[in-house]
């Protein structure tokens, strides 16, 4: 079970996605806050900007209408350019605080007055001469409002009829907005008055709005981190506890449990975790009990077998002697020899079983001595009657280093490895020892076919038979298991492998400096 996200390799450079829950939660909180702030600000900004601009242009149109209506009656029926220029100048003078510039055009003709840069679209729209149009444009000097207003003759009763849809000249592009204010001039004159106003003040107001929105959003985003951290802490604490507890259980503390706090999903998970831990502990204890029983059974059986075997073993020599003396009938002699041989094998097996039971019971003790490496190896070969160099080739380091080992156990290990190599491999077996300041390493290699890959992981298993067809090998089936236990007792390792050129190699590694009470 893996509660924490798997830590993958970090990609070098570039953007990294946050790995932990805490940064993810914080990022999510900040994103949500930023998103809401952005939407709110955008909607508010739009509304406020439209309100400011609408009010400005409505009042400008209203003012212009007033001025036009009051001045238009003074125009002659067929005004000259001079009249129109005077009219425009009068309108300019009447602009008051708005500071507009005006111009007049007759029947779509050239502009007469101080206003310039009136777009063709606005002029086209007002050509029909029955409605007022306005247009907002971005000019190099800032935003401007352009108004096109037909001039009517008569009694000055021309009035705006409110906002209408007449006079729409098309969709604006970019920051251009167009709209029309419909009205009913009594009598078209062909004259259109144009006014150009600067919207700098309005733009300043809108900029202030944007600044205010930012000023509000940034602290809000910063504040969003606080609840994010708080929420992360609340969520992460149980997660971290679960992780710690899982690690404890993994490392062997099967009785680890967690307190269930609250009623949320994490509390439920904690409860499930406790249940799982209890089940694990129960199964673990059950397995251990069963294994201990099995091992005790093996120890008891082998122990019980010893007494009858002791009686039988004491007389096998006598049986052999009589069987070979020729005094017995031949088939009886064969039977007697068979019995004494198998009794000896049985004795060996029971001894191996007893030995492995001792390891299982933790009763095996290490008796360390300073030994000559050469002597240890030579004695092992000599005691087993293995010949050099026909059967075994030794490659020992120069200078005969001294090793601190339990010589009897190392002898058992070497004898099992060499015996195994001679049985399953091919002579000569090479025993190569190297000694460093840290470790003693002994390789036992043979020239046989090597160990099949499917057998290799099991060579140290008890009673594992590499060849299922072989009913019984000479050994008890415990030799390599005993060898490995003996090496483990030295805090060392024993591994099996195949040589690249064929043949199996067993490598024994024993540290030279491990702490163990000296035998006095």
């Amino acid at each position: 079970m893996r509660l924490a996200p798997r830590r993958g390799p970090r990609s070098p450079g570039g953007l990294r996605t946050p790995r932990g829950l805490r940064p993810r939660l914080v990022v999510a909180f900040v994103l949500v806050a930023a998103f809401s702030a952005l939407i709110t600000a955008a909607l508010t900004f739009r509304q406020a900007r439209d309100a400011i601009l609408d009010r400005t242009q409505n009042s400008a149109v209203h003012d212009l209408r007033l001025q036009v209506d009051s001045l238009a009656p003074n125009l002659p029926a067929d005004p000259t350019d001079t009249d129109l220029r005077t009219f425009a100048r009068q309108l300019d003078r009447a602009s008051g605080s708005r500071g507009w510039h005006t111009a007049v055009s007759r029947d779509g003709g050239p502009l007469i007055g101080t206003a310039a840069d009136v777009s063709g679209a606005l002029r086209d729209a007002t050509k029909s001469g029955d409605a007022t149009f306005y247009e907002r444009v971005e000019h190099a000097d800032g935003p401007r409002l352009l108004i096109g207003m037909p001039v009517g003759y008569g009694d000055g009763s021309t009035r705006d009829t409110g906002k209408g849809d007449a006079g729409k000249v098309g969709e604006g592009k970019g920051n251009r907005g167009k709209g029309g204010i419909g009205k009913e001039p009594e009598k078209p004159s062909g004259l259109v008055a144009y006014a150009v106003l600067s919207l700098d003040g309005e733009r300043a107001d809108i900029s202030a709005l944007i600044t205010a929105a930012w000023a509000g959003a940034v602290p809000a985003l910063a504040l969003a981190v606080v609840p994010a951290l708080f929420a992360a802490r609340r969520v992460l604490r149980p997660v971290r506890q679960l992780r710690t507890a899982a690690e404890k259980i993994t490392s062997g503390a099967r009785d680890t449990r967690l307190d269930v706090v609250g009623k949320d999903e994490l509390a439920a998970l904690t409860g499930t975790f406790n249940t799982m831990a209890a089940a694990l502990e129960r199964d673990d204890a059950e397995l251990r009990r069963m294994e201990a029983n099995a091992r005790r059974f093996a120890a008891d059986v082998s122990h019980e077998l010893r007494t009858p075997l002791a009686a039988m073993a004491a007389v096998t020599d006598a049986l052999d002697e009589d069987a070979r003396s020729g005094t017995l009938p031949p088939d009886t002699a064969d039977a007697v020899l068979l019995i004494s041989d198998e009794t000896r094998k049985l004795t060996g097996m029971v001894e191996d079983l007893m030995e492995i039971s001792r390891f299982d019971a933790g009763a095996a003790v290490l008796h360390l001595d300073d030994m000559s490496l050469r002597t240890v190896v030579q004695k092992t070969l000599h005691l087993r009657g293995w010949r050099e160099p026909d059967e075994v080739v030794t490659e020992l380091p120069e200078g005969d280093p001294r090793i601190r080992v339990d010589a009897r156990r190392i002898d058992v290990v070497l004898a099992n490895l060499i015996g195994n190599a001679l049985r399953h491999g091919a002579a000569p077996v090479t025993v190569r020892a190297t000694v460093t300041s840290e470790a003693l390493v002994i390789d036992v290699a043979d020239n046989g076919p090597g160990i099949p890959d499917d057998v290799l992981p099991h060579v140290f298993d008890r009673f594992y038979k590499a060849d299922a067809a072989r009913v019984r090998s000479e050994g008890s089936g415990l030799g390599l298991a005993i060898a490995r236990e003996n090496v483990r007792l030295h805090h060392g390792t024993l591994v099996a492998a195949n040589l690249p050129g064929g043949g199996a190699v067993f490598t024994l590694t024993v540290p030279r400096t491990f702490r163990q009470e000296d035998q006095s």
Binding site: A311, T347, D369, K379, D411
Partner: protein
């Protein structure tokens, strides 16, 4: 013809060992309990006692101690398990060697003969005819196989005597336990070093003034034992 007293409770083992030993030319008396064994010790006057430690009634360990109170007859333990703490205790109580069951008659016979050999093989040629030698308060007579301390003869079991004779024949030379096992007990090089340790302990108890700080049989840590050097 060696007279062997076998104290073993299991009848089958008793029969088997008696049969095997008689084939090897030993005269064997077998009893089933420790009490019977102690009685037989006086009546049968064995050359060697073969003792099972797991006995009903009086334990083999008690028997071993009782024998040593009065006699230095060689004792070989017949043990059910070699790793048993009883083996160590038995050796410390005065047994000279042990054999782990199941063992063939040849193995038992070899142990018996090794224990009964009066001098260790390695020193047989060097130690004769020199008369008693003195080492501190000890007087070692290699011909008579007697060790005296302050003029009194020390009651040494066979293994103890052999160990002392062997070590003192080459004073201040260190012998590894494996070497001592081979030369004195005639075990293999990889025999049980506890035999040596237990014997050294018993020997020290008899020859040293203070067994905790020995001067005659000294430990060379990690290597083995040596005789001396004696303080001036």
């Amino acid at each position: 013809m060696t007279r062997v007293l076998l104290i073993e409770d299991d009848p089958a083992v008793r029969r088997g060992v008696v049969l095997g030993l008689s084939r090897n030319g030993h005269e064997t008396e077998a009893v089933g309990t420790g009490e019977d064994g102690l009685d037989a010790l006086a009546a049968f006057k064995p050359d060697l006692v073969l003792l099972d430690l797991m006995l009903p009634g009086m334990s083999g360990l008690d028997v071993c101690q009782r024998i040593r109170e009065t006699s230095q007859v060689p004792i070989v333990i017949l043990s059910a398990r070699g790793d048993d703490i009883d083996v160590v205790v038995g050796l410390e109580a005065g047994a000279d060697d042990y054999v782990v069951k199941p063992a063939g008659a040849a193995v038992i016979d070899a142990r018996i003969r090794a224990v009964l050999r009066r001098v260790a093989p390695a020193q047989a040629d060097t130690a004769t005819g020199a008369g008693p030698t003195r080492a501190g308060d000890l007087e070692i007579d290699r011909d008579a196989l007697i060790v005296r301390k302050h003029g009194h003869e020390l009651p040494l079991a066979p293994s103890e005597l052999k160990l002392l004779l062997f070590l003192s024949a080459a004073p201040e030379r260190t012998f590894s336990r494996q070497q001592l096992l081979e030369d004195i007990w005639e075990h293999s090089y990889y025999g049980d070093a506890r035999l040596v340790d237990a014997c050294v302990m018993r020997l020290r108890a008899k020859v040293e003034e203070d067994p905790r700080s020995p001067v005659y049989v000294q430990t060379v840590r990690g290597f083995g034992y040596r005789f001396g050097p004696l303080p001036a």
